[in-house]
């Protein structure tokens, strides 16, 4: 409705292939990013940073990783949590074992280690597909769960199995306040989102999607399934690894392997399903949804209950949360398999065509 696109014609391929080809969209996104960097730190209190914004940013990054693998390359994974764990523990070990290791470098190196592990555990994807592959990724999940619990070297022989990291520092900037953490994660997320978008809109992304949509045809036009699948596993695991390192070192500070259990893997998968498979924006929608819903329910259910004179226990809230998550997943798979991102895109398309319906 508010789009006025007449006269926005493209005179070069460069202009035609921009990420946001419509100027209105471009300005809106730019405004949003500026607001996120400047506006939000001025407006928001610590609780919101800690409870919502920082988890949202990190989980968005993780969901991006899952989306690359599941949404773009069509390889289902139930072991995303494991990749996060590998990233977190690797980054931890780099940080404590290498003198003078900058935190950012440790985080990125953690991501690289996760990528390597991802390639190893993604290798079965060359032989097995679909459902069988899902099970193969579970093997990774359970293996790493076990490894970080039982192999003491990974946890620097900590007796409880939990590890912790002091405030990290970036070029002299000590990241300890919630605002610092928020800005640090936001910076990383923006950079990584841009890179992800670049990958999926270019040759790499087309190879992934070709493998996803029709692998035999992809091979025939010269796409190597091994290369496409393993790069997807590597990139996905890299993102997850970095997210894992951030989750541990920035969000939690100290953590146990349970932080990256199969529940986390499923949660990430749900983010991608609800948010939108095969859409970068879907990762953000999904993460926002999954971070906000429990908080929303925690606030709302007791209120609703009190309207009817019922006491709503914490356990009940968590059960209702389960039911709502589950139903939404089924709902989205049935009604809109491409998730909120597609709803958003459809809505946007409707606005462009307004007042016409199609």
């Amino acid at each position: 409705m508010f789009y006025r696109e007449n006269g926005q014609f493209k005179t070069s391929y460069k202009a035609d292939q921009q990420v946001f080809a419509i100027p209105q969209d471009r300005w809106a996104i730019l405004a949003l990013v500026v607001f996120a960097f400047v506006g939000i730190p001025l407006l928001v209190d610590e609780y919101l940073f800690r409870a919502i914004l920082v988890p949202f940013l990190i989980l968005s990054l993780a969901a991006l990783g899952v989306n690359i693998l599941v949404g773009y390359c069509g390889q289902i994974t139930l072991g995303a949590g494991a990749s996060m764990a590998v990233g977190a523990y690797a980054a931890y070990n780099f940080l404590i074992r290498v003198d003078g290791m900058p935190a950012l470098a440790a985080i990125l190196l953690g991501g690289l280690v996760a990528a390597a592990a991802g390639i190893v555990f993604g290798a079965p994807s060359l032989r097995v597909r679909g459902l069988y592959l899902a099970v193969a990724t579970l093997a990774a999940q359970f293996f790493w769960d076990w490894a970080f619990l039982r192999i003491k070297w990974f946890t620097n022989n900590s007796s409880s199995g939990s590890v912790s990291v002091a405030d990290i520092n970036l070029l002299g900037w000590t990241i300890n306040s919630p605002t610092d953490k928020y800005l640090f994660c936001l910076g990383i997320l923006v950079a990584f989102s841009l890179m992800a978008k670049n990958l999926v809109r270019g040759n790499m992304g087309r190879q992934w999607m070709a493998i996803r949509d029709m692998d035999v045809a992809a091979t025939v036009i010269g796409i190597r399934p091994m290369y496409a699948k393993l790069t997807a596993f590597a990139v996905s695991s890299f993102y997850l690894g970095v997210a894992g390192a951030l989750w541990g070192m920035v969000n939690l500070g100290s953590w146990e392997p349970a932080a990256f259990s199969i529940d986390r893997s499923l949660q990430l998968l749900f983010m991608v399903i609800i948010g939108g498979m095969g859409a970068i924006s879907g990762s953000f929608f999904g993460a926002a949804f999954i971070v906000i819903l429990p908080i929303f329910l925690n606030q709302m259910l007791p209120l609703v209950g009190s309207l009817f004179g019922l006491e709503v226990s914490i356990a009940l809230v968590s059960h209702v949360e389960f039911i709502i998550f589950g139903s939404l997943i089924v709902f989205f798979l049935i009604v809109e398999p491409h998730g909120i991102a597609r709803l958003w895109a459809t809505g946007r398309e409707k606005l462009r065509l307004w007042p016409f319906p199609h």
Partner: protein, 656 residues
């Protein structure tokens, strides 16, 4: 920008090539031509265009194109075809744009009548067509094609790619750098600039010769009138052979220095229109009609809420929209608020999807436009105006000034144009913009231009009390009912055609006691209507014969009758009986002209049996007709056509 008579000479801007050079010098970097090609809008600046034109001209000269030669131009709107026009003019030759969808026989006529030696054509399709008729056109020696696709194995003599000609031209230009400046200097403003063939509604087409002087004058009057600048964008998608396109996409662009934009293909005109968002727009009423029809069809599919919002705000727009556009006083504040809201919710978005957001001035010409159609576009904020003119007058006789639009008039005479009504009611025109002559037809020229220099337009019209010209119909079409009442078929047909469900209509009544009509339904609109009612149909003929469809059309006709009854002048000519034709009227079957005007005489001969049935009181009539399909095959369509009676209304007295 005005050209002074005394400034005539090599440097005055009185021929198109000189205008081009001037633009290249003064706004060399501004875009002159764009074409959507290979997915993006390829752009050429004025200096690039000047360069290209010069190269084409040199190439043509190299091939032997001389002063006074005619250059046929056949094809869709492609930049290089426009440039070839100017190249011919540079050499003192005359471009003759031809309708690209003309069949071979029509082409032969123009090619021989115009003594064409050189033809610049778009692509293989046109080359094939010309090669087919080459034997019958003794003069035709050189065929130059723009698009080399599929041309690799053509070895016919005289056949060359434009690329090759341009390359040749560049060498020629390098060797004789003074040649082109010399040729341009030789050009005189009273030379013939272009020859446009009339569509031949009656008889054989005639080549209308227009000079640089007349066309530049016509263009200037429009440019000055609407304050056009070099910032305008126009979409060039109408046949190049039509005077309208020549005026808007060539002459005015050359005078004002604005940008012409050529669409990617026929299929993408709507998309391209939306992308470019022209600021200056020109289309025959048919296009506006089709657009409105699609708007209505698409709105019918919208949700109920959206639909009612649409209708509500359209009612608001109808009430006050055009008054607001005209900045007339007397619109209530409430209406202004509602209109502003409607502009946000409906009109603005609507203009956007129609590609009309940026339009400053839009024109329609070529046929009369229904007042309601006209009102629709103006009410949603599109500054649509009517233009009255003909090929013989460079299309620009009357213009409608901003803020003084009357829906049923074509406006006031353009600057420098005299208009008067003959005793017989015919519109006569005199001024700079008249044709020089019909090519090799002094007899015909004498027939239309009388001794005092008045051009007889052949249109019947009158001036209203404000001095605005009203056109009723073609003079020869205006007839009388047997009771003496004036019968203007076009006037009634246009009213019918305003309904989205009716695509074409032909009315009869001259020397008869009542008016009867043939109707063509609009396949898109009625098809959609039928689908939503779950009415199955197999094709046009089937759909047109459905009782429900006939009733639908009858309602439309009755509404027209009600409308006619309000005006004493035409109240007698309400439609009494009608039928819906079993096939769509088609230029390929000679029922319409290439510009889609009804060939009244031809139709009344071809369907004499149907007319007899209409007037003999029958309730149905069998008919079988031969039709030509697109691929050239022929077939037969037969049907039993129902003839329906329509309610008529007593004449209403106009409120005093």
């Amino acid at each position: 920008m005005a050209v002074s008579q005394s400034g005539r000479g090599p440097n005055s801007l009185d021929t198109f090539p000189r205008l081009l050079l001037n633009h290249a010098a003064t706004r060399g970097d501004r875009p002159a031509t764009r074409e959507k090609y290979l997915g993006i809008w390829q752009t050429w600046s004025w200096s690039q265009v000047a360069e290209e034109v010069r190269a084409i001209a040199c190439g043509l000269a190299e091939l032997g194109f001389k002063r006074g030669d005619n250059l046929a131009i056949v094809g869709d709107n492609r930049p290089r075809l426009y440039w070839a026009m100017c190249a011919a003019q540079m050499l003192g030759g005359v471009p003759v744009p031809m309708y690209q969808d003309a069949v071979a026989a029509e082409m032969v006529f123009v090619l021989t009548d115009g003594e064409i030696r050189f033809a610049v054509v778009e692509d293989q399709e046109q080359v094939d067509k010309l090669l087919e008729v080459k034997a019958q056109c003794a003069n035709l020696q050189h065929i130059l094609y723009d698009d080399p696709r599929g041309m690799r194995h053509y070895t016919q003599p005289g056949l060359q790619g434009l690329d090759e000609v341009i390359a040749m031209g560049r060498i020629h230009d390098k060797n004789q750098p003074d040649f082109i400046p010399g040729e341009i200097a030789k050009g005189r403003t009273e030379d013939i600039a272009v020859m446009l063939y009339t569509s031949g509604t009656t008889g054989k087409p005639k080549g209308v010769c227009q000079t640089h002087e007349t066309f530049i004058a016509a263009a200037q009057s429009g440019v000055g009138f609407d304050h056009l600048t070099d910032q305008e964008d126009i979409l060039s998608y109408l046949p190049m052979a039509w005077v309208g396109d020549h005026l808007f996409s060539y002459a005015q662009a050359m005078v004002a220095g604005f940008t012409i934009n050529c669409p990617e293909s026929g299929d993408t005109v709507m998309t391209d229109l939306r992308e470019i968002g022209p600021t200056y727009y020109f289309a025959p009423p048919r296009v506006f009609e089709n657009l409105l029809t699609t708007v209505m069809i698409r709105m019918e599919d919208a949700s109920a809420m959206k639909r009612s919002m649409f209708h509500y705000f359209m009612a608001v727009a109808k009430r006050c929209g055009s008054d607001i556009l005209d900045q007339k006083p007397g619109v209530s504040t409430m209406d202004r608020l509602l209109y502003a809201l409607g502009n946000l919710l409906i009109y603005g978005p609507l203009r956007n999807v129609l590609g009309m957001s940026r339009i400053r001035v839009a024109y329609t010409a070529g046929a009369a436009i229904g007042p309601d159609l006209f009102r629709f576009y103006r009410s949603i904020g599109v500054n649509l105006k009517q233009l009255y003119g003909a090929t013989e007058t460079c299309a620009a006789v009357c213009l409608q000034p901003d803020r003084e639009i009357k829906f049923d008039s074509v406006g006031k005479p353009a600057p420098g144009v005299e208009v008067r009504i003959s005793d017989g009611g015919e519109v006569l025109v005199r001024g700079k913009l008249l044709l020089k002559e019909y090519y090799k037809r002094p007899d015909a020229t004498a027939e239309v231009i009388d001794a005092e220099g008045w051009f007889h337009t052949g249109d019947a019209g009158f001036f209203d009390e404000d001095g605005r010209l009203k056109i009723i119909d073609r003079a020869k079409d205006v007839g009388k009912l047997s009771n003496g009442a004036i019968f203007a078929p076009n006037y009634i047909e246009n009213k019918l055609k305003f309904f989205p469900h009716i695509k074409e209509a032909v009315c009869f009544g001259h020397d008869r006691d009542m008016v009867c009509a043939f109707v063509n339904i609009d396949m898109g609109a009625v098809g959609n209507w039928a689908e939503r009612r779950g009415l199955p149909y197999s094709g046009y003929t089937d759909l047109a014969g459905k009782k429900e469809v006939l009733d639908l059309v009858r309602e439309c006709v009755e509404q027209v009758n009600a409308d006619l009854s309000h005006d004493a002048m035409v109240a007698e000519t309400q439609i009494h009986r009608f039928l819906v034709l079993h096939k769509e009227l088609d230029p390929d079957d000679d029922e319409l002209t290439r510009t889609r005007k009804v060939r009244r005489g031809f139709i009344s001969e071809k369907y004499a049996v149907l007319i007899d049935a209409l007037y003999s009181g029958k309730t149905s009539q069998f008919i079988e007709t031969q039709v030509k399909f697109e691929d050239g095959r022929t077939g037969k369509v037969a049907a039993d056509l129902a003839i329906l009676e329509v309610k008529t209304f007593p004449t209403m007295k106009k409120a005093a």
